[in-house]
Symmetry: C2
Subunit: 306 residues, 2 copies
């Protein structure tokens, strides 16, 4: 089932306690698409600037399931650039710089061939842009939204408007609290479902895993235990990509977003994200095999067996 | 299989953001024994003072599987008393006062009838006391140790001595880090197993669940999602009690502490602990039924299904 992602291409500079990566390929769309491509074909809609050189493009070529027809290059503009620094505990990071570049311009154009897309993932961007993009896919079956603290603070009404039209929301625990004024993530998730539109909410807790609040019930998953974290950047987007990729691949007439199918999809998202953080940028995903994914998935099943 | 726990009886005064409980029954032994009693008979070895009045004793009477023959009352002494305050996020607590009472005296005597105990849980106390108690059970099959930051700081050599003789260790993530100087809990757990004696380590993460590092592999479990936390006191001891109770009840000749049996036991500990925090003291456990435990266990299985 065609899956589409709209979001950012980024050129990241990342400082970790152990190393530095300068001007590497990043962005929500990038991580999402690479992760989802292990399960299904992914269509990418994003913009980049004249500084998006061939080496970056070559990275996408390593993921044959990612269609980059919707990658719009604007030669006179600059690609979104982000600099971040992680501290010893890996859970805290500081943004060193943000250069919006193409993100400050109009949204990218959606190729005509993409308009029949059924599975839609709206990676983090301004909720008004997200709503416009969402409505560009009238044949959508499942739509899921990511957002961030900035929009909860500064564009809450616009965010609430797009939330009314989507099926699922992916946020972190702090964002769930901001959105509801409720600390308990389960209670917060239930309020979102009862009052704000989505049928399910995935609450990400980083190294502590995730919680699913669904109108059928509640589920939890720990993260896969990675001992050698190199760079956590992109973990959340890879997690979302693995989840949506698995959902789209498992599409059927009736159970697209049943509790059980999302639980399964989240486990696959967890596994893909665990590979992402084993290197900078897409290095690990670019040399990841389906066999490795299947093996780690089986290991993960054993690890969380009750 | 006979399970024994040595630890503290406490008289707790607890402030939460919503309520206060004054001079209620607590202590590591108490929570542990009550929790374990849902799965097996538990023998308790602990001391209390002349202020341990009939109302406290009556609480134990609500758990017919708890044998209190080893509860030693010292009329001229005072029971260990602890005062604590929880803050809005429930994860942080401040100790308001600690009155050692009987804990500053000699360890309790072990009844002759207890000397054949096979499953031993050494709840938190000075490691020298723990070692002496451990050696009082020559027929032990499985012994598990709890400890705390204080002993890691002030009695590390004595702690290492008792660790060399036990099968399992239960600690929290911060204690795992203190013990090994390693932040990653998996890596820390592996170091403990490789170098310090235990065959398995359970690392507690509070509301984020637990990690098992075992010489057969690694496992994780989320916590059961409780929306209405009244008082987290005793969660860790109940968790350990549920785990050990289930292990002792499931005793067999070969697989007492296999990876799979501990995983199952941890899930039962998780379920019991989730009830404990729904009230102050042992209020919830005292009216808990085996059917409720079985129901929540089944729900939990569904929630973590991969």
């Amino acid at each position: 089932m065609p899956l589409i992602v709209t979001g950012t291409i980024g050129i990241d500079t990342i400082y970790t306690p152990d190393a530095v990566a300068e001007k590497v390929l990043g962005g929500s769309c990038t991580y999402f698409a690479a992760a989802a491509s292990f399960f299904t074909q992914v269509r990418l809609v994003a913009a980049a600037g004249g500084d998006f050189h061939d080496d970056y493009r070559a990275v996408f070529a390593k993921f044959p399931n990612v269609c980059v027809e919707g990658l719009e290059i604007r030669p006179a503009s600059k690609t979104f650039a982000w600099g971040g620094k992680y501290f010893d505990n890996w859970n805290q990071r500081e943004t060193l710089f943000t250069e919006l570049g193409v993100l400050a311009e109009h949204p990218p154009k959606i190729p005509a061939a993409y308009q029949d897309s059924k599975y839609i993932f709206l990676a983090n961007s301004h909720p008004t842009v997200q709503l416009e993009l969402l409505r560009a896919f009238p044949k959508r079956v499942v739509s899921v939204l990511d957002t961030m603290n900035l929009w909860i603070d500064t564009a809450r009404e616009e965010l609430r408007a797009v939330m009314r039209e989507i099926d699922g929301l992916i946020i972190n625990d702090e964002e769930a609290r901001m959105l509801t004024d409720i600390r308990n993530p389960i209670t917060a998730g239930k309020k979102i479902i009862a009052e704000m539109g989505p049928m399910f909410v995935v609450i990400k807790k980083g190294e502590h895993g995730c919680i699913l609040v669904h109108d059928e019930g509640v589920a939890m998953l720990p993260a896969y235990p990675v001992e050698s974290v190199i760079d956590p950047t992109g973990a959340g987007d890879s997690f979302a990509g693995g989840m949506m990729g698995h959902l789209a691949a498992a599409h059927s007439k009736d159970v697209n977003i049943s509790m059980a199918s999302i639980q399964q999809a989240l486990a696959h998202g967890t596994v893909i994200a665990s590979f992402t953080i084993e290197s900078f940028s897409l290095d690990r995903l670019a040399r990841l095999t389906k066999d490795e994914v299947a093996k780690r998935y089986t290991d993960f099943q054993e690890m969380v067996r009750v």
